[in-house]
């Protein structure tokens, strides 16, 4: 699913650089990436998602050479092939839960918002246990409910790859395990690959594979 070779990337401002000689994730794998803060975990997610372009090297996701795509191509690829789950959920308070889930469809032409998509959004929300809260504003939800809505938003376009950046970081211990279970179930159900950045070592045994990110980091 993900294949990285000879990747080099540096932030021009602070001199931070990242070098990954080789890294791959097979399709369907649930991979946890750990490492200290500032080690470049989020940078890696942004490179894989095509938000950043590497200075040198190759990144292939689902067979597509992300590093070669144009800005518009990377955006279209990202929104159709990659689902993002953030630590702070990043829901829009002024939209209802349903509108938040459908949001990617409203901000790009690469996805078409149809009645079928709406139906699937409702079903997905039902599976996540927030089916009765679709018309509420996002701000009215609990933390756990917010993250469920955020997972629904990430999964709705049926992406091949889910990138989760500290997705359970803001949840209490009970919610943390429950949300992770829901995320795993959804990933399995959709046949997706999960790459999750986490600081929580308690969760690591549940993943198929754990990569310590400290090995990649190259000091400036």
């Amino acid at each position: 699913m993900i294949s990285i070779e000879s990747l080099q990337f540096a932030y021009p401002q602070d001199g931070f650089s990242l070098q990954i000689p080789a890294f791959s994730v097979p399709a369907g794998q649930k991979l946890a990436v750990i490492g200290p803060s500032g080690s470049g975990k989020t940078t890696l997610l942004n490179l894989i998602a095509g938000i950043y372009r590497p200075d040198t090297g190759h990144i292939q996701v689902a067979g597509a050479p992300v590093h070669e795509l144009s800005d518009a191509g990377r955006r279209d690829f990202r929104i159709t092939h990659i689902g993002f789950v953030f630590q702070d959920f990043e829901l829009l308070d002024y939209l209802s839960v349903l509108d938040n889930i459908l949001h990617p469809y409203r901000i790009t032409r690469a996805l078409k918002l149809t009645a079928g998509v709406r139906q699937r959004a409702c079903e997905l929300a039902g599976q996540m246990g927030i089916g009765d809260k679709l018309q509420r504003h996002a701000g009215e939800l609990s933390q756990g409910e917010k993250q469920r809505a955020a997972i629904c938003r990430a999964l709705l376009p049926q992406p091949k790859l889910i990138l989760a950046d500290e997705a359970t970081g803001n949840l209490d211990p009970d919610n943390k395990l429950h949300i992770l279970d829901l995320l795993f179930d959804a990933v399995d159900q959709h046949g997706a690959t999960l790459l999750a950045v986490t600081h929580d070592h308690e969760l690591l045994p549940r993943f198929d594979r754990v990569v310590d990110f400290h090995d990649f980091r190259q000091p400036a």
Partner: protein
């Protein structure tokens, strides 16, 4: 674009306070100068129309503007009065027909206009309900007076004392409303019309009281002889003129010396008008004026003031736009997280710009709609607004 408008609509309706403040600010800054322009246009139209219909005005020397405003709009008071003799002089000259005006008193906040029946023909005022004035103590009222006071034919209306200290002098006169005028969309709608003699009764120049020769109350009579009866203040003065007591009403002194505020002069032709104006040119007591000229001069001053107000509005508008810009920039900063998120999801910068543009568009459209609705209201009621705000 529809999706952008949908998301933008959700944003502006969710942030009600912010949206309300923005919409109110934009609406006001657009509405105020436009409304001012509408009102000025309407007031100019009204002032010029009524002034144009009134060929010449004769009044006491002094402010021509006060004379015109008092005679045409029943607003300002004239400081000097003329007498009924002035009207007779005009009629006697054969150059013009005179219509006397005595605009000094009020009844429940509305000006009482003492005049002759010719005034109604001159202004093409028609009776909508009831009948025209026929005897002393009667009045006909304008459409606004009838509406606001809830009066109709056969009701009564009491004149107000000139001031609080007038209680020992001019008695309030209870007038019988004989008719209501059809709406004319002019100052006549908000006036109470009486005969000039009725106005003089209000002033105390004419009065009616019980017949002292026939009274049986001996405490009223101070002294009685074969030729004279002297009564004291206990003598009953009538405050209402009825058919029963009409005969007791009388005027002291020569009626030709009784006061008027102005005389409308309707010259036979242009030559007569010129001759009449020439006649008053050197007069030390009277002035004759063309209301058109006075209104021209007034409008010049008004437009000079308006240009200053316009400049102030432009500066305030510029400051408001800068403030709105600041609000918008600060709002963008607050929403930076949201913008980053949708960008990470896969949204282009162009779409982000389109979302923000849609929000601005919605706020601008709502403000424009509100402004248009308010302007329509002002335009629809401009005549009344001008009369109540400007021509008071």
């Amino acid at each position: 674009m529809i999706d952008s408008l949908y998301i933008a609509w959700k944003y502006v309706t969710f942030n009600k306070v912010k949206t309300t403040i923005l919409v109110t600010s934009i609406t006001l800054i657009a509405f105020l100068p436009l409304a001012l322009q509408v009102l000025l246009n309407a007031s100019e139209q009204q002032l010029r129309a009524r002034a144009g219909e009134t060929p010449l005005l004769v009044g006491a020397r002094g402010s021509a503007l006060d004379l015109v405003m008092n005679s045409l709009y029943f607003s300002d008071n004239v400081s000097q009065l003329i007498s009924m003799r002035a009207a007779e002089q005009i009629d006697d000259s054969g150059l013009a027909v005179s219509i006397p005006l005595y605009v000094r008193f009020h009844a429940r906040g509305f000006p009482v206009v003492g005049t002759s029946l010719d005034y109604f023909d001159f202004r093409r005022l028609e009776i909508k309900q009831g009948r025209m004035l026929a005897m002393l103590g009667e009045c006909v009222i304008g459409a606004d007076v009838a509406e606001r006071l809830g009066l109709g034919a056969n009701d009564s209306l009491i004149s107000s004392p000139e001031n609080l200290f007038d209680i020992a002098g001019v008695y309030p006169l209870k007038m019988k409303v004989t008719g209501v005028l059809a709406r004319s969309h002019s100052a006549d709608d908000a006036a109470v019309f009486v005969d000039t003699r009725t106005a003089w009764v209000m002033q105390g120049l004419g009065h009616g009281h019980e017949d002292v020769t026939r009274t049986r109350d001996s405490s009223v009579v101070l002294q009685r002889n074969e030729r004279n009866v002297t009564a004291n203040a206990k003598l009953l003065h009538y405050t209402e003129i009825s058919e029963a007591n009409l005969g007791s009403f009388h005027f002291h002194g020569d009626e030709k010396d009784h006061p008027l505020t102005a005389v409308i002069s309707l010259p036979q032709d242009t030559k007569s008008a010129t001759l009449l104006r020439g006649h008053y040119l050197e007069d030390k007591q009277y002035q004759i004026t063309r209301p058109d000229d006075v209104i021209d001069s007034l409008m010049e001053n008004i437009f000079r003031i308006k240009s200053v107000i316009d400049a102030v509005i432009v500066i305030v508008g510029f400051a408001t736009v800068l403030t709105l810009l600041l609000v918008f920039v600060l709002s963008l900063r607050l929403r930076q997280g949201e913008i980053d998120t949708i960008f990470r999801i896969g949204c282009s910068r162009m779409t982000v710009a389109r979302l923000l543009a849609a929000e601005i568009l919605i706020i601008a459209v709502v403000s424009a709609g509100l402004c248009a609705a308010l302007l329509w209201l002002v335009q629809a009621n401009s005549n009344e607004l001008v009369r109540s705000l400007i021509l008071r």
